[in-house]
Amino acid sequence: MSALLLASEAAGHAAESLGFPLLPALVLIPLVGALVILCIPAERDDTIRLVAVLTAIAAGATSIVLLTQFATGEPGFQFQSSATWIESLDIKLALGVDGISLFLVVLTGILFPISLLATKPDHNPKGYYFWLTALEVGCLGVFLALDLFAFFVFFELTLVPLYMLIGKWGHGRRVYAATKFFLFTMVGSVLMLVSIVAVAFAAKAGDGGTVTFDLVKIATSGRVPTGWAGALMFFGFVVAFAVKTPVFPFHTWLPDAHTEAPTAGSVDLAGVLLKLGTYGFLRFALYLFPVQAHDFAPVLLTLGVAGIIYGGAVAAMQKNLKRIVAYSSVAHMGFVVVGLFALNPQAIIGAILVMVNHGITTGALFVLLGFLYSRRHTYELSELRGIQKSAPVFAGIFTLVMLASVGLPGLNGFPGEFLVLLGTFIAHRWWAVVAAGGVIIAALYLLWAYQRVFHGTPDDANARFPDLRFSERAVMVPLILLIVGLGVYPKPLIDRMEPSVRALIVHIEEANPGWVAPTSEHGNDLSPVVVPAAASGGHEGEAEPGAGAHTATAEEGR
Amino acid sequence: MSSYLPVLVLFVLAVAFGLLSLLVSITLSPKARSQAKEAPYECGIVPGREAPERFPVKFFLVAMIFIVFDIEIIFFFPWAVVFRELGGYGLAVIGIFAALVFESFVYLIGNGALEWGPRQRQRRAEIVSPDRTLTSTIRRVGAEGRPAALEPAALAPAAHHAPGHGDHGHGDHGAAA
């Protein structure tokens, strides 16, 4: 823990030497862009589109710069910057990035320009581009915020833009889907707000009596409550993230939202917004509540596995192509949750990899579905067949992306899922065994869907299916490069994530005395949770020794 | 919180008692309805005519104006009792009070509360809408000059550009007086 703090300070100095406030710029670029769009008259839609695309590209470029400047091997937060927001409660607009959030920021930076370029809205472009750009502000803010209040603000900020995008530019039952999405997420996040306030006030005694919403300060204060109160706060966070992710019983908004959303909305929803939930688990639930995260891990593991199996099974039964992809997202997010709550470095790294790669592949899938919809105006499997003959390039790209989604070795879906299964197998063998079944189901439903859409003899409408245009192929190129590149050589990602993830694991271990993260390095070779006999009783629902250790670690942290 | 428990118990008991009494009386009471019993006056007098009668509203106004002075007098009495002790301060205070109360009388007079007989002044504000002119009213009431298919806009008294005064713009509501 102390190492984490020290490292973050050191990194802070390192970032200062750069001299340019990269992170504020990253949040401000889309914000300014959105305001500019608001000022342009609605008739000049070409200008609006240009501004929106340029804004997204600028933000993307900034995120790439961030990637190149990132100091590999540093576990703590880098490029930290902060500004006071509300004095009386010590609320700051604190931003920072570490190995956990870095790639999600870059993913956001890449996916938004692609989603903008891939499609055009059918009406009212001004509002469409405004809300999309505003959505990017929220997404980037969530991944960068180091202050609980600021995090919540950004977390909520994503809500209205997506609500508007689905409700106004969506298909079919768009108002129903949008309202359902809004209310589900809202209910989850309001409980989190209470938890945020509660945990901040619970931790305030540790910081000379003043309230703070600083993530690191609260997490290292050692005063995050254990026992009942702590569990309730933990679940306040968990419910919010579980709805957003979505974890199995809270998932019902997702298929509707995905199906009715416009293409860009779907891409960003699947690619970025679902990661807000899983990122929240990692950054807040695990970091703030290490004791509860450890105690309740089996619950979340079970929900994750249930999501994998349920998502896969339901996806296989769908008749709508977009719904299949939506349910596959539920399954993939199940993998992420399983990986996170396996609580060992391999699984967590794997989970982050799945987050990033799911963003790329599912984003790509939705872009492709958008192309399909613009030609055929349907997602129904019964309407589509034999497209392979009329559009071979489209079919080829679709195959590649789909195989990546299935988790074919060599493509980007594989390393993450493999690491998750590996890590989980070490920690909780039987969950891993069941989860592995999900991979098979994924292969089943995606290949089956592929067969129905692309094989067979095309009827009239499908025979005239035009292949991808040049601009459309150009949009797909970066995604394909990423899919292949990250599949073959994911090491650069893992190198940057690993120090932060290990620091997190150390943090959790310190909070749970007597518990050691089950990794193969400890010589536990594939046996389930082998804990030294002396300490094995230590974590079974005993809050008191844990609390004692807390104060000890808090002193250490100072 | 637990100290409020007796209140809650009492509340429940009170409600239960009320409901029970009603229920018992409804179920147990003998019922013998007859026309005479349900008449307004059960004691035999047959109502001859409707009770409410119309008389000029000005009577009410005078009664209300009287209240103004009534209130003033009510406050004058206690002041008069301690007139000497209060001295100049009291005189000033009661003077302000009397002036304020008298102000309402000025308002009433200003609004013509004491003007009996036919109305001398029509309050412009009470005309339904500045858009409504003599022509449009005639159109509205009679069929004269009305187009065969009734336009919905012509029915709404407020609709702008009602037929009949086409040059009547948005901005000149005031001119309609």
């Binding site: 950004f154 809202m186 | 339904v128």
Partner: protein, 565 residues
């Protein structure tokens, strides 16, 4: 009871000695009047009377917007006279180039009947803002509806006078005086639309129920007087700090009755049933003022009476406020989502907001008061903005408030629809609007005071009530075939925004965004607006001017229930 009398005689000799000493030589001490403290009240009240007199004497000679401009000027004047009070309370040497006269710090005036502290000045300014916004909204509305005349403005100023009196009351009788001045004016305001039956109905309903609640309040004051022998909050507080009445049932009943009266004014469940009907029936600008100014005054009364006067009894009234807050938040949200009339929906959302403010109040802490004031200040702008849109969208007759009337509103009136979305999002507590910071402050106060379950209830209700706002947004932006609706209905034509209303709406929008993004300034001011009870300095003792008799809000010393059982 005799022991109580002895206690009284001991604790407040001045009180019981009064009538006894009066028998031989009747000497009535004339109170020393601090005119600067009364200036805001005087400016508002005399401004109203002057307007009424002038227009009675010379009817019809004032230009049409003259009344509104006059009202805005009077309210601005009242706020300007309140500003030096703020400086004096916070011990500034001078305000700009204007030397402020000592004594510094919060003080009492008019024989302890009026208390000037940060809190009362803050509420005074807030009511001034509500009056200005109400006058701006009403200017075109009254002309449109053909009810233009000075009456609306006179009543607006008079009710504001009552509100300011409530905010400054240090005595329960003065509080009642303010309450009645405020209420009676608003009863008439609610019924001022002579040609709308709903308006008449609203006025009558409000009057009857309001009369009841005033009676409750007065009865409560009588009970409190019976229990403590005084209606002056300072004396009550001092007495209760020294002696605990052996039979406090009388006092508790009095507190309960007072809570009923004030709870009615702020429309807290279960005293809320009037508000949807009245908000719907009353002219829209009046509803805006009721939701902003009247609510602020009601909460000022609650704070002064309960938090200041009966701070020691916090453990007795906190559970009751807890229940009121929870019920208001839940009922406001749940019943609100079933409404199909926008004004009624706004009324229920206003009930929901009252719950949030009660939640801040029941924390009984400085943080709670700050949260309450911040909430009141931001809510004023949001609700006036919302009702302002309703004023314009209601069109002539003030009757088009159905959700169906808002279909396609974003097409016909994009600017108004955009503003409405802003106000609605603000009310739902969406980040980067002032509503979010306000809700956050309220929750923070509640959690800090240990009632996190209430915070959970509140946030769940916020999520539910979001549906109210979503329905309106859906109607405006996403109604199926909204183009058709826009073409079909001639009434959905473009609305010409009059200057005054436009100004008010823009001001509200700027405040909603501004306090959402940069809440620091308002938050600091709200934090400094601390309610304090100050004893009237005894002239002979010549106790130091700065806070010798200060019995402020000191939460650390609030004892546990002073029951003796």
């Amino acid at each position: 009871m005799s022991s109580l009398a002895a206690v009284l005689a001991q604790a407040a000799p001045g009180l019981t000695a009064g009538p006894a000493a009066a028998a031989p030589t009747p000497t009535i001490t004339v109170p020393d009047i601090e005119w600067t403290a009364l200036l805001p009240i005087l400016v508002l009240g005399l401004g109203a009377v002057l307007l009424l007199t002038l227009t009675s004497l010379a009817r019809g000679t004032v230009t049409r917007s003259g009344y509104a401009i006059y009202t805005v000027l009077v309210a601005t004047g009242a706020m300007a006279t309140a500003a030096p009070l703020w400086g004096r309370v916070h011990a500034w040497d001078h305000l700009g180039k204007w030397e402020l006269s000592p004594p510094y710090g919060p003080f009492s005036a008019v024989a302890g009947a009026i208390g000037v502290d940060g809190f009362s000045v803050f509420i005074t300014l807030l009511i001034g803002v509500a009056v200005i916004l109400g006058a701006l909204l009403a200017d075109d509305y009254l002309r449109r509806e053909g009810i233009d005349g000075p009456e609306y403005y006179v009543l607006l100023l008079l009710s504001a006078t009552g509100g300011v009196i409530m905010a400054m009351a240090n005595d329960l009788i003065v509080l009642f005086l303010g309450l009645e001045t405020l209420s009676i004016a608003v009863y008439v305001l609610a019924a001022i639309h002579l040609k709308r039956v709903q308006s008449q109905e609203a006025g009558l309903k409000y009057f009857v129920l309001g009369g009841f609640s005033s009676a409750f309040f007065l009865y409560g004051v009588a009970m409190v007087y019976g229990a403590t022998g005084s209606t002056n909050l300072v004396q009550i507080k001092d007495l209760l700090a020294v002696k605990v009445p052996t039979h406090n049932a009388l006092l508790l009943i009095g507190l309960g009755l007072m809570l009923v009266g004030l709870g009615f004014k702020v429309a807290a469940v279960p005293f809320h049933s009037w508000s949807p009907d009245v908000y719907d029936g009353a002219p829209s600008p009046v509803a805006a003022f009721m939701a902003s100014g009247v609510k602020a005054a009601g909460f000022a009364g609650l704070t002064r009476a309960f938090l200041l006067g009966f701070g020691q009894f916090a453990s007795d009234w906190q559970p009751v406020l807890y229940f009121l807050a929870a019920a208001s938040m839940l009922v406001g949200a749940i019943v609100g989502i079933t409404q199909t009339n926008v004004k009624r929906a706004l009324a229920y959302s206003s009930i929901n907001h009252a719950g949030f403010m009660l939640m801040a109040l029941q924390a009984a802490s400085p943080k709670g008061v700050t949260g309450l004031l911040f909430y009141l200040a931001t809510y004023t702008f949001m609700t006036v903005g919302s009702f302002g849109i309703a004023t314009l969208a209601g069109r002539t007759g003030d009757g088009h408030h159905d959700l169906a009337d808002y279909r396609g509103f974003s097409r016909t009136n994009p600017a108004l629809a955009g503003l409405f979305v802003l106000f609605l999002l603000g009310q739902s507590g969406f980040p980067l609007t002032s509503g979010f910071v306000a809700k956050f402050g309220s929750i923070a106060a509640a959690v800090d005071a240990g009632s996190w379950h209430l915070a959970v209830i509140g946030m769940v209700s916020a999520a539910i009530s979001a549906f109210i706002y979503l329905r309106i947004i859906v109607a405006m932006y996403m109604a199926e075939s909204d183009t058709e609706a826009a073409e079909k209905a001639p009434k959905a034509a473009r609305i010409k925004v009059p200057f005054g209303a436009g100004l008010a709406l823009v001001a509200c929008a700027l405040a909603t965004i501004g306090f959402g993004i940069l809440p620091n300034g308002l938050n600091r001011v709200a934090g400094e607006a601390e309610p304090v009870l100050v004893k009237e300095p005894v002239p002979a003792a010549a106790s130091g001017a700065d806070g010798a008799g200060l019995t402020g809000l000191d939460l650390t010393t609030i004892p546990t229930t002073p029951t003796t059982r």
